[in-house]
Symmetry: C2
Subunit: 223 residues, 2 copies
DNA sequence: CGGCAATTTGCGCAACAGGCAAACTTCTGT
DNA sequence: ACAGAAGTTTGCCTGTTGCGCAAATTGCCG
């Protein structure tokens, strides 16, 4: 009955899943996407080819599953928040906290993955799909929490999309500017700040691009 | 040299492309995604199977290519705008105009397509990818126009993502509330308004769920 | 008209998705 | 603790697919 069920079985499944994903990722990094077959992945993960197909619908899905963000935890943290808090405010703090718990290991992996998704359009599709699914779950909980209807009010969709776009945008800029683990949190905060200010055009905030990369050191204070 | 090349050839290519997409779409509507083969699509479009593969990497891509939004025109309209205008303000007006030019035919097609993408996850991936590509182009022009760097400033990414999320959210709500061609433009405007207000939580705008759902989604006969 | 470049097509092949059923592992009730 | 239920892995199989290659076809331009 319970999908979060029965100890050992679930653990093993999770382990195989990760095992396959890591094998796929490693192989694609080494040999390039189209020189990797399902059979190789299976071999690398000590498992039969047929089982790989049981877990993922294709190589691409497996590759992208490696080193993903911990979406369930983020959702849980969100639901733990006081019910009357502004959703975007809550998410801002959650993301900042999340960024601060990321290890160097994870950062490096993330950067590698971004490189892969920029090289292979087919991988990109699956990467985007992952974000999209998270956005969907987020939309649902936001709707529940604000008492709005997903079918008739755009707010849940817009808010969820905004939050996800913060992750994407901040992560991108962060990777391109050296992927310093310290700075991701600041970028999240900055992005949410821009959002709640209504995304004013920067031509009115800053005439030219600044020599120092970004205003990262600035702690976001309430405007 | 010129990608917008030499008359007849380009026209024919465009026609075959559409022809394939429409064939694929029609067949999938009729028989369901996994009972349609490339060979059937080819037959329906009066060309060889091999040629289908020349245009699309798989069925899914072909299906989704049918009845897409006219992204190039939207981009062009954006570039035609006065250079110092706030990007989101410009996009708001452009989308509203765009919505007003949509025919009933197109509306119906769009609704059907949404149904398909909700039924088949594999189609959804390609649908999302299409939006994502537009977002990418939008990001580039927004960056150019505001004099920001895509690599160091999050604004172009956030603004582009916001605009695209407006299209997605508004279209969704619009389809779910009957897909009345008159109302899409209003939804666009409303969504942009929420954005530039910083996406305030509706719990502070409206204490409880209201009898009249949303100003715009409500089927008011005051047309 | 004639040669050039782009496009279509047929052929072939390795790879793949996914149904099916048998072997095997974990779980549950007693 | 044990037997049967429930879930997972695996091998086998078949129709489908993606794509490289080269030949035939078609539009293009002097």
């Amino acid at each position: 009955m319970d999908s979060r069920g029965s100890g050992l079985r679930e653990i093993k499944k999770q382990m195989t899943r990760e095992s396959i994903a890591e094998a796929a990722f490693k192989l694609v990094i080494d040999k390039g996407l189209d020189h990797v077959t399902i059979e190789e992945i299976a071999q690398e993960a000590f498992i039969s080819p047929r089982t790989v197909s049981n877990y993922f619908s294709c190589k691409e899905e497996a590759v992208v599953a490696a080193g993903s963000h911990d979406w369930p935890t983020i959702i849980e943290n969100f639901e733990r928040r006081p019910a009357d808090e502004d959703p975007l405010h809550a998410l801002s703090e959650i993301f900042v906290d999340y960024a601060n718990t990321q290890t160097r290991q994870q950062s490096r992996l993330r950067a590698q993955k971004l490189e892969l998704t920029e090289t292979y359009p087919s991988l990109r599709r699956f990467q985007i799909a992952e974000y999209d699914q998270f956005e969907d779950e987020l939309r649902t909980v936001i709707a529940a929490r604000t008492g709005t209807q997903v079918d008739t009010d755009m707010y849940p969709s817009l808010a969820a999309a905004a939050a996800v776009s913060v992750i994407k945008s901040a992560t991108n800029v962060w990777v391109r500017s050296g992927a310093d683990p310290e700075q991701l949190a600041a970028l999240f905060a900055e992005a949410f700040a821009q959002l709640s200010a209504g995304l004013p055009s920067p031509t009115r905030r800053r005439p030219e691009h600044s020599p120092k990369p970004v205003t990262l050191a600035a702690r976001s204070d309430a405007s």
